[in-house]
């Protein structure tokens, strides 16, 4: 794209978006050798002042760290700096004649090592917070203040400390790092603040360049762009900004079509942590909790752990409906020691409820945990891969038994609604035969079974067009059957998150969609654009 003198450097996008601005190179950690060593008392006083200044700075930043994750990082550093266990070794070394910088580095090395060698990813991540804190104190000792970074800069460096991220006014700017990890705190911060970010940037000599375009959609940093590249980029950025502003506007309001119908828009989640990034008020509840990640091998028989997870999800929802799907292992989601190995065609094999019914103890554990969680809010339990009515009846009997036993034992519980996922054509075509409290279409599997195309085959992607007549007719049939029997119907597959499909889904009569959290804004915007023709749906 660019020519005369422009450099394209590739990187891995970890936070999406487009940014254009002045290049700013991060200075490396303080060398801090210039200060003259004083007496032991002076060295101790200098370190004391540096620690106090660092704490004060971090405390100020804490007020700016609106989200709790960033605030926690800073609070951790503030607590560590105030802990004599951390600081005393440095002062002891100073008392023996060691220079303040050296004493502080050595004392911090003890703390860093405590975390750096840990097997636990979470603890290892704290090591970088401690280095950040160490360097902040060293900067104060050296009397250095990092040059302030002007608003809207493209910041380039090897890595960026989370506390440094918070000091910068990002508005319009971006980050490109030669190191970094997608799971680092700074990457999370960048995503939550909407700052485009690349990591693992290729090495290139960028000295002497002053302007750059950061394109985190294509994973490239364009340094010293020519006029054409810059203007093309500028128009892309404007379009993206308008689109984002538009979606943002819809995100926080209930979804209503152009013809005035209120549409329920729920989210799909796979683990509890995802909820931290979602505002409960931006959705009508949770339409699908996948429990395959929540219930790993260790939790298969652990009712307490499952209950704790379900409870947190229902508490998050604050009275909004939550649909939790029973374990849908098998197919492309093996659980070691639970799923059947070596099936020649796992998508057509023992999976979902078929597998659950082979492991009644595992299913009972999950149903007990769910019945206990049902006391907290409106809980719906959804059974995957149901083919014939008998399967759902068996699960209902097991749920009844689980609730009866909990009640006999005096354990607080409630009977949740029990419904089915509609993803097997046999169930979709005979829906009138099922005793179900609700249905939710799993469009991904339904499409693969209707079109006889394996979901994971890229070569067959064209045959799996979700909008083809066979799929839409079947969806229409399902909704018609459900409406005739006054059974709530929803759709929780990828189709619901695909804005190209929204009109079609509303036209076949669906009034409830469950989408990926990131798609909430754009799905609501697409709903608002669509006018449902009179007499349809």
């Amino acid at each position: 794209m660019p020519d005369n003198g422009a450099i394209c450097v590739r990187g891995t996008p970890v936070s999406p978006g487009l940014a254009r601005g002045r290049l700013v190179f991060l200075e490396e950690a303080s060398r801090g050798a210039e200060r003259k060593q004083g007496s032991r008392e002076e060295e101790a006083a200098a370190l004391e002042r540096a620690i106090a200044a660092a704490r004060a700075e971090l405390t100020t930043l804490m007020d700016r760290a609106m989200d709790s994750d960033a605030g926690m990082l800073l609070e951790f550093q503030v607590e560590m700096l105030g802990d004599p266990v951390v600081t005393a070794p440095a002062f002891e070394a100073i008392a023996t004649g060691v220079r303040a910088e050296r004493a502080w580095r050595d004392a911090m090395e003890i703390q860093v090592r405590e975390y750096h060698d840990s097997d636990d990813l979470y603890f290892r991540a704290r090591a970088s917070d401690l280095r950040d804190m160490r360097d902040r104190v060293l900067r104060h000792l050296a009397g250095e203040t990092p040059a302030p970074i002007v608003e809207g800069s493209i910041v380039v460096g090897s890595d960026l400390a989370p506390s440094r991220f918070l000091e910068i006014e990002w508005r319009g700017g971006g980050i490109a790092l030669t190191q970094g990890s997608p799971n680092s705190h700074v990457a999370m911060l960048a995503r939550s603040r909407g700052v485009p970010m690349l990591i693992e940037l290729e090495h290139a000599d960028l000295n002497g360049h002053s302007e750059a375009l950061l394109d985190s959609e294509n994973g490239v940093l364009v340094v010293s762009p020519d006029a054409n590249a810059a203007s093309e980029f500028e128009s892309r950025r404007r379009v993206a900004e308008l689109k984002r502003a538009d979606e943002e506007r819809f995100l926080h309001a209930p979804a209503v079509t152009a013809s005035g119908e209120r549409i329920q828009v729920l989210v799909n989640i796979a683990n509890v942590k995802e909820l931290e990034a979602i505002d409960p008020a931006s959705c009508d509840g949770i339409g699908l909790v996948r429990t395959e990640l929540l219930v790993g091998k260790a939790e298969l028989h652990d009712e307490e752990k499952q209950y704790a997870a379900y409870r947190r999800i229902l508490e998050w929802a604050q009275g909004r409906p939550v649909t939790i799907r029973t374990l849908d292992a098998g197919g492309d989601k093996p659980v070691p020691g639970y799923t059947v190995d070596g099936e020649s065609n796992p998508f057509l094999g023992v999976r979902g409820v078929r597998l659950s019914l082979l492991h009644p103890m595992v299913l009972t554990t999950q149903l007990r945990a769910l019945a206990r969680a049902a006391t907290i809010g409106p809980l719906k339990v959804m059974v995957p891969m149901v083919t014939v009515p008998r399967e759902l009846e068996q699960v209902r009997l097991m749920l009844d038994a689980a609730v009866a036993r909990l009640r006999n034992a005096g354990v607080e519980c409630a009977m949740p609604e029990l419904g089915m996922m509609v993803e097997v054509p046999a169930a979709a075509l005979a829906l009138d035969l099922f005793e179900t409290d609700f249905v939710s279409v799993g469009s991904n599997d339904l499409i693969q079974y209707v079109t006889a195309c394996s979901r994971d085959s890229a070569a067959l992607a064209a045959l799996q067009d979700p909008l083809q007549p066979a799929v839409m007719r079947l969806l229409h049939e399902v909704v018609k059957q459900a409406n005739a029997r006054r059974i709530p119907a929803s759709l929780c597959g990828d189709m619901a998150s695909d804005v190209r499909c929204i009109s079609g889904l509303l036209d076949v009569g669906l009034r409830s969609l469950s989408v990926a959290p990131a798609a909430l804004g754009r799905v609501k915007a697409a709903i608002a654009r669509h006018r449902i023709a009179a007499g349809r749906g």
């Binding site: 951790f76 607590e79 405590e114 979470y122 509890v272």
Partner: protein, 108 residues
Amino acid sequence: MSECESLAMRDEPRAAASAMLAHEGGLHARPAIKVVQLAKRYAAHVWIGTAANGPWIDAKSIARVMAMKTPNHTMLYFTATGGDADAAVKALAQLVSDEFRISPNDAG
């Protein structure tokens, strides 16, 4: 690394309380900060441990509490000596059993 105080050697009366840790990932930075901040609100010496008879860790030191690397579903024991020892251990056990939902500023 951890400071093991043999409280049995002391004659001072001590308060004790315990609660089951239920926090995904264990006693990591966020809950550890809450424990330490709450402990610091009391004049009493406060210790934390993972067994009823110690070893005991200073509950006012974030470095020491973090270094315990306590996994989830561990029983946490608190013990304290001094004027408000009873209130301290009660508040800390409450914080843990409430799964750290209350902020230390609201507690006690």
